[in-house]
């Protein structure tokens, strides 16, 4: 069935479908069961499936991550939810020393099917402690999968694939995507490990993660008006990474900007740039450019926050710079604006 729904509804639908079809799936974490229901994404689960299959927890990220692991080792499929990815730093030990290793250390006897969902991205002055993405950090550890959906369809399909996957999957959802509406076909399966070309072009490839795809699509539209056809590749899964689609696109366009929703230094953007530079060596007309967060903690105040985050404008300016074009006058261009759509307090 196809329907036009928001990303938050798509996530919710994926949870409902998986919980309906598999009684071993359950959702837990701080605030999953209250009336705000993780920005609506866990809405109705308690009513539908009962408090045993959707429950809040004490503030104990480290232990709750271990609990998810123990439940997964016992044949269940836990989904542990964090309202902010930053809080996962409290659980890095369970993630990087336990979850990612236990299968290996058991000689393959243990299977660990679990999902850690967390919200990333801008909100209402989220500050340095509520703004990390961390996908590159997670992907650095062998034994974990890392997924960053962008479209409602991918939110839906990739969450289902993640729940069905027999490995630990970190699933990161950008806060602003929640309000994006799109067609969702509830029978469409998207396996982990496949990138998607969101917009075709031959002048330049923009390899993007999460929200950066939205910005890139806008940039692509603006650039198209100048006759520049840029291709937007949504990585969708950071680990395993679909090298083929990414490399294929860059070989075609011979130009690449990596726009990652994270800090640049030692991040996933570095991986993409290194990979592309190596695999497309000789095909590139110019070096791969990296865009990402400013190399500072995320400030709270809006004017600095606007500078901290890369945007469609950042991408357009980078493309212009790389191609030696003059800066277009973009006054009056309607960019995605926060101001009109997103309100406080969180």
């Amino acid at each position: 069935m196809k329907s036009l729904i928001s990303f938050r509804e798509a996530l919710n639908l994926a949870l409902v479908k998986e919980m309906e079809s598999d009684p071993s799936v359950f959702v837990f974490g701080l605030d999953v069961d209250d009336h705000k229901s993780i920005f609506g994404s866990t809405d109705g689960l308690v009513e539908k499936f009962g408090g045993e299959r959707c429950f809040g927890t004490p503030l104990s990220e480290d232990a709750m991550t271990g609990v998810a692991l123990g439940a997964a080792m016992s044949g269940l499929r836990p989904i542990h939810v964090h309202i902010r990815a930053d809080f996962i730093l409290l659980a890095m030990n369970q993630i990087g020393n336990m979850m990612s290793n236990l299968r290996y250390m058991s000689g393959g006897k243990l299977t660990i099917p679990l999902v850690v969902r967390a919200v990333i991205g801008r909100g209402w002055g989220q500050s340095a402690q509520h703004s990390k993405s961390l996908h590159g950090v997670f992907a650095h550890f062998p034994g974990l999968k890392v997924v960053l959906p962008t479209t409602p369809q991918d939110g839906y399909s990739l969450l289902r694939s993640s729940i069905r996957d027999n490995n630990p999957v970190i699933f990161l959802e950008h806060r602003w995507l929640y309000d994006i509406v799109g067609d969702v076909d509830d029978e469409r399966v998207v396996p982990l490990g496949q990138a998607a070309v969101l917009h075709e072009g031959d002048a330049m490839t923009l390899v993007c993660s999460s929200w950066m795809n939205v910005e890139a699509l806008k940039a692509a539209k603006v650039l198209a008006r100048r006759g520049l056809a840029v291709e937007v590749v949504d990585v969708r899964t950071v680990s395993p990474l679909d090298e083929q689609t990414i490399v294929g696109s860059v070989k075609k366009t011979r130009n690449c900007i990596v726009a990652d929703y994270d800090w640049i230094f030692c991040g996933f953007g570095a991986e993409l740039a290194a990979l592309i530079s190596q695999r497309c060596f000789g095909c590139l007309e110019r070096p791969v450019e990296r865009l990402g967060f400013a190399p500072v903690p995320c400030p709270t105040t809006r004017p600095l926050e606007n500078l901290f985050y890369p945007s469609a404008l950042t991408i357009i300016r980078a493309v212009e710079r790389l191609f030696g074009l003059e800066e277009a006058d973009l006054n009056g261009e309607p960019f995605y604006s926060y101001e009109q759509r997103f309100k406080g307090p969180f």
Binding site: P58, Q126, T300, P303, L307
Partner: protein
């Protein structure tokens, strides 16, 4: 309590209350672009505890820090400047509501990640012992923070080292919308920490004189034999977890009765005390009027103040 002392306490309570009521009024204009965790109902704890602290004491807190910031600094202009994200805020707008600090006044740090300032406060107390100074360090945290492992690690270490640190649990029985009963595997907070080698006390956080008596008692004992103290104060969170509104009608808790509200409002309750010890209604009115002007000025100044320049994005990362 002497009238003068009581009126100065009252002034603090009123300042916090009015500042937060002002936020409630202004917030929906969407100019304060920072999440606000209001402390209406909790003012008595910061005001009471800080009232007892010797000069040179240092404090740490949480994202629900307005009361603490205003108690310790009295800096209304800086407060609003930060909430409006302006350069003249204590964090140049980089901090926002959740990270107010004023190291120059001893308010070292507050944090939006639950429990995280607890060990940092213990480190500050360790520094006092290390240097042979005897400053007191106080860390305020919510009841939910006790569920984080770092609380227990910090308590254990502080007790082991006999540090002069006051753990102040501001217990509203809620973590966002989750009630204590759904989060605690132990009988009561004071019993849970009872086996640790520190002083323990607690009471009604809405009752400022009680908070003061309780704090004075443990500070006295700490001065006789240095050890940490654990203070537990209960209070009613009158508003939603974050944001300017009430939320008694969304289903997870009931609205308090008029009597409960009056009893659990530390400002109203302290007003009774003031009248009891001989202050007049005019005395109170005078305080409120003066504070009102201060708050009005703070908001106006903040609204008109400049933001940090773009280059400020890159400063203050490394020393």
């Amino acid at each position: 309590m002497k009238k003068e002392e009581a009126l100065s306490l009252y002034r603090k309570l009123v300042l916090i209350r009015q500042a937060e009521e002002k936020i409630r009024q202004e917030y929906l204009k969407d100019e304060m672009k920072t999440p606000v965790h209001l402390g209406i109902g909790a003012e008595g704890i910061s005001v009471g505890v800080c009232h007892c602290l010797p000069a040179g004491s240092r404090t740490f807190g949480t994202y629900r820090n307005h009361a603490l910031y205003l108690t310790v600094t009295g800096d209304v202009d800086g407060f609003f400047a930060e909430l409006y994200g302006k350069l003249l805020g204590p964090g140049k707008g980089k901090a926002g509501s959740m990270h107010l600090s004023a190291p120059e006044c001893g308010l070292m740090a507050t944090s939006a990640v639950v429990g995280t300032t607890i060990p940092v406060a213990v480190g500050a107390a360790l520094a006092e012992a290390y240097k042979g100074t005897s400053g007191t360090v106080v860390v305020f945290f919510g009841d939910g923070a006790m569920e984080e492992g770092v609380f227990w690690e910090s308590l254990n270490f502080a007790c082991l080292k006999h540090l002069r640190v006051l753990f102040v649990c501001e217990d509203n029985g809620l973590a966002i919308h989750a009630h204590a009963g759904g989060r605690r595997g132990f009988r009561s907070i004071l019993e849970a920490v009872a086996a640790f080698d520190c002083y323990h006390a607690g009471g009604d956080g809405s009752d400022v004189p009680a908070v003061i008596r309780c704090t004075r008692r443990v500070l006295h004992r700490m001065s006789e034999q240095p050890k940490p103290a654990f203070l537990h104060f209960s209070y009613l969170r009158f508003l939603e977890h974050v944001g300017p509104k009430e939320d008694f009608d969304v289903g997870y808790r009931r609205r308090p009765s008029r009597e409960e509200s009056a009893r659990l409002d530390p400002v109203l309750r302290f007003e009774k005390e003031l009248l009891r010890i001989g202050c007049t209604l005019d005395d109170l009115e005078a305080v409120r009027t003066a504070v009102k002007e201060q708050v009005r000025h703070g908001v106006e100044a903040a609204q008109n103040a400049p933001f940090a320049s773009p280059m400020e994005l890159y400063t203050d990362v490394l020393a």
